[in-house]
Amino acid sequence: MKQIRVNQLPTPTYRWLGVNDAIAELPEAKSAEPCFTAPDGIEIKNCDLQSDHILSESQNELSSFFADSCTFSYLITGSSEQPLHVQIPNNGSNFFFIHAKSDSKITVIMHTQAEHNAFRTQIKADPYAAIKLVQIIRNGKSVSDIDADIAENAHFELVQIFLESDNAIAGTTVSLKGRNSVFTSNIGYLLDHNNALDINLNIIQNGKKSESETDVKGVLRGSAKKTFRGTIDFRNGASGAKGAEREDVLLMNSHVQNKTVPVILCAEEDVAGSHGASIGQIDASHIFYMQSRGIPEDRITEIIAQSKLGSVIRAIGDPETERSIYLAIGKEDPDE
C-alpha cells in the first residue's frame, strides 16, 4: 500500500498542531470500472490522460499517482438537467474529467461505499457553464481529489457528504480564474466510533468579482477525529472578489477530536473575505424545549444531529439520493 503526503495547508503553521498535511494510504491499482447511469445529453468516453492532454497544470504527488495508476479514465461532457450517477468501485483508482462547454450544464452524483478506493475528479467549466458535483462517501477508506478550473461567468457547485467513513481524505482545489466565476460548496459529515476525516479545501480567487461561499456542517460522535482546512486565497488582481466560509460542528462525545483551520490569504485590496467557525455541544435550551414536547433525550440528540446535516442533504437536489442519505443517518421518515 502506497502512502503519500497530501492535503498540504497552502501556508504551513506551527508544527506541533499537526495540521500542515495528512498522510493518505492509496489502494493498489486494480482494474475496477465504475458504474454509470447517464441521462440523455451526457456523453462518457474513455480517455488517455497523457495523449489527450487533460491533466491540469497544478501537478502534485497525488495527481501524479492518479496519472500513473488509473487504469480507467473518463471524459464526461454534454449537457443535461438530469444528474449522471457514478458508482465508484471498490479497491480502484479512477480518474474523471468533467468538461462543461460554454452554456452547458452537467450534474454528477458520485457514490462510494467501498472498502478502499481513490479517485480524482478534474473539473473544467468553460464560460457560462455550470457544473454540480455531489460526492457521497460512506464507510471504508477513501481518497477523493478534486481540481477545478472555472472560467468567466461559470459556476461550480460542490456537495460532499461523509458518513461514518473509516478514514476519508478529501482534497479540493478550485481556481476561480474567470471574471464573475462562482464556487459554492456544502460539505457535511457525520462521524462515529474511530472514524477519521481530513478535508483540505483550497479556493484560489484570481478572477475579478469572483465569488465563493462555503458552508460546512458536521457531527462528531464516539472517538471520531476530523480536520477541516479551508483556505480562501485572494490573488492580486481579483478586485471586487468576495469569499465567505463557515464551519459549524456539533460535538457529541468527550472523546472526539476536532481541528478547524479557516485560512484567508489576501494579496488584493478590493476584496471582502470572511470566515467563521462555531464548535460546541448541543444547546441545553434546545434539549429543554424538545423534552417539554415529550421527546426523550436520546431521540432529541438524534434529531439534532440529523437536522445539522439537513441543509447539506437538501443541497443535493436529487430526491432519491437525499432519501437514501436520510435513511442512512437514521431518520425515521425521510419524506417528512
Binding site: S254, G273, A277
Partner: protein, 469 residues
C-alpha cells in the same frame, strides 16, 4: 479621477536617533561555547546557570529553524554580537546614568513617564540594565522589581529564580528559545506578594543601540494569589543596515484569582528580526490580559501563549499590527485550555500598506479535561493598497464535547458606506477616512493607560488625502 488613499508609514524620527557606540565590553560575534563561557563569566553566573547556558547551546545547535512563517534567511547568526555591556552599571537615580544613555531614555520619554504615571521603571541599554527604580511605597508593600541578575544573586530570591527560570518556555521549545537560554542577559524580575494590588503600572524599556547586535533580555514575573499587576514593556532601536536580532523571553506566573495585565508597544527599527517568546501560566480563577501593539521590526514572530492550568482561569489577547514597507510581521496568540471552565478571548486588528505583510496566526487548543470551557476569536484586517498582503491562519484543536468555541474573521478595505455615512454627518472625506482608520486601532488604545494610548496614536500618524480607488 479616483485617487488612492495615502496612509503614511509610522513616523520613526523619535526612535531612529542614535549615539556612537562606546561600550565598555563587547564580545565577538557568533555563538560558540567559548562565547557562552565568556558571557557567563561577565555576569558572574552561579554554576547551575553556566551549565544551563551550555546545555541550551547544545539544544540550539541541534534544533532546526522553523519551516513556517516569514523568511529569516537574512539573519546571519555568525554576525550577531550577543553581549555588549554599556559604560554604566545599574543605577537607581537618573543623574547617575551616563549622559548619552540618559539622553536616549529622556528622548523616549521614560523618566517623564516614571514621574507622572508609573510605580517603577527599568531601562535596559544593549545587554545590561542601566536603571532600575521602584517607588518607596510600592517596595514597602513587598513588591520586588529588580533586574534578573541581581535577583539571581540575592539569597532571598535565588531559589525562586532557579525554580521558575525557563520552566514554561524550556530551551527545547524552539531554536530561538534555546538561543535565548544560552545567551540571555538583562531583563526584569517582578514579584507581587499575595493580595497586593498595584494600582499603577511598572514599566521596562529595552533599547538596542549597537548595530549588528542582539538583545536577549529575560522577564520573569510572579504574581501571587489574589494580587494585581499591570506591567508595560516598550522597546525600540535606531535603524542600521545590518540585521539586528531580538530574542527575548517573557515568563509570567499568575496565581489563584490574581490578574496580570501585560502591555507591549513594540517599535523596533526595520532592520530587526523580532523572534520573541512570551508565555503565561494561569492558576485557578486567575486572569492574564495581553495588550499588544506591533509596529516595528523587519520580521516578527510574536505569539504570546497563555496556558490556563487552573479551573476558571481566563486569558485575553488584544492586539494590533501595522505592517508597512519592508516589513513582514507574523503575530497572533496561542491559548491552551488545560482545566475545566476556562475562558479566553482574542480580539486582533491588522493594517497592511506599501507592500507590508501582516499575518495573524493563532492556536486555540482545548484539552480533554477542559470541560465547559469557552473561547472566542475575532480578527479583522484592513488592506490599504494592492501592493500589500494580509493573511489569517488560525487553528482550533478541540478535544472535548463540552466546550463552546467561536471564531470570526474579516478582511477588506475601508468601507465606502462608512465614509459616506460620516460625510453625511458633515465630515470631509479626508477626515472621515482618517477617523475610520484611527478607530480601527481603538481595540488596543482603549486598553492602554491614557499616556500610552496617546503614544500609540502618535505612532500611527495617519495622513489621509483624496478618495479611495
Amino acid at each position: 479621477m479616483k485617487q488612492k488613499t495615502q496612509v503614511d508609514d509610522i513616523d520613526r524620527e523619535r526612535y531612529d536617533f542614535r549615539f556612537d557606540e562606546d561600550p565598555e565590553a563587547m564580545l565577538a560575534s557568533g555563538i560558540t561555547p567559548e562565547i557562552i563561557e565568556e558571557i557567563s563569566e561577565e555576569k558572574g553566573d552561579p554554576e547551575w546557570m553556566r551549565k544551563f547556558r551550555l546545555h541550551a547551546l547544545e539544544i540550539f545547535a541541534r534544533t532546526e529553524m522553523p519551516n513556517w512563517g516569514p523568511s529569516i534567511a537574512g539573519l546571519d547568526m555568525s554576525n550577531i554580537v550577543t553581549y555588549i555591556r554599556p559604560k554604566s552599571r545599574m543605577n537607581t537615580d537618573w543623574n547617575d546614568v551616563p549622559t548619552e544613555i540618559k539622553e536616549t531614555f529622556e528622548r523616549l520619554g521614560i523618566p517623564q513617564a516614571e514621574r507622572e504615571s508609573l510605580a517603577g521603571v527599568g531601562a535596559q541599554y544593549d545587554s545590561e540594565l542601566v536603571y532600575h527604580n521602584v517607588r518607596r511605597e510600592v517596595a514597602e508593600s513587598g513588591v520586588v522589581y529588580t533586574d534578573l541578575e541581581s535577583a539571581m544573586h540575592d539569597p532571598r530570591y535565588a531559589e525562586m529564580i532557579r525554580t521558575h527560570f525557563m520552566k514554561i518556555v524550556p530551551p527545547t521549545d524552539h531554536k530561538f528559545a534555546a538561543l535565548h537560554g544560552a545567551v540571555w542577559s538583562g531583563g526584569s524580575f517582578v514579584y507581587v506578594p499575595a493580595g497586593v494590588h498595584l494600582e499603577i503600572p511598572l514599566q521596562s524599556y529595552f533599547r538596542l543601540n549597537a548595530k549588528g547586535a542582539g538583545q536577549f533580555e529575560h522577564t520573569l514575573i510572579i504574581v501571587e494569589d489574589d494580587a494585581y499587576l499591570h506591567f508595560i514593556e516598550g522597546c525600540s532601536a535606531p535603524k542600521y543596515y545590518e540585521a539586528g536580532l531580538h530574542a527575548g523571553c517573557v515568563e509570567l506566573y499568575v496565581g489563584k484569582r490574581a490578574t496580570l495585565r501585560y502591555s507591549t508597544i513594540e517599535n523596533w527599527s526595520k532592520n530587526m528580526y523580532n523572534l520573541n517568546t512570551k508565555r503565561a501560566i494561569v492558576e485557578e480563577g486567575g486572569r492574564i490580559e495581553w495588550v499588544s501593539g506591533s509596529f516595528g521590526s523587519h520580521v516578527s514572530y510574536l505569539y504570546p501563549m497563555s496556558i490556563l492550568s487552573g479551573k476558571g482561569a481566563h486569558a485575553e489577547f488584544t492586539g494590533i499590527t501595522f505592517a508597512g514597507a519592508g516589513q513582514n510581521l507574523d503575530t497572533g496568540a496561542k491559548i491552551v485550555h488545560a482545566a475545566p471552565e476556562t475562558t479566553s478571548h482574542m480580539d486582533t486588528k491588522s493594517i497592511s500598506k506599501s507592500g507590508g505583510i501582516s499575518t495573524f496566526r493563532s492556536a486555540v487548543t482545548v484539552q480533554e479535561n477542559a470541560i465547559n470551557s469557552k473561547s472566542s476569536v475575532s480578527c479583522e484586517s484592513l488592506m490599504l493598497d494592492g501592493l500589500s498582503r494580509s493573511d489569517t491562519i488560525p487553528v482550533m484543536d478541540i478535544r472535548t464535547d463540552q466546550a463552546d468555541i467561536g471564531h470570526e474573521a474579516k478582511i477588506g478595505r475601508i468601507s465606502d458606506d462608512a465614509v459616506f455615512y460620516l460625510m453625511s454627518r458633515g465630515l470631509d472625506e479626508q477626515r472621515a477616512r482618517a477617523m475610520i482608520v484611527s478607530g480601527f486601532a481603538d481595540n488596543v488604545s482603549k486598553e492602554l493607560p491614557l499616556e500610552y494610548a496617546m503614544e500609540m496614536n502618535n505612532l500611527i500618524r495617519l495622513e489621509m488625502t483624496g478618495t479611495i480607488g
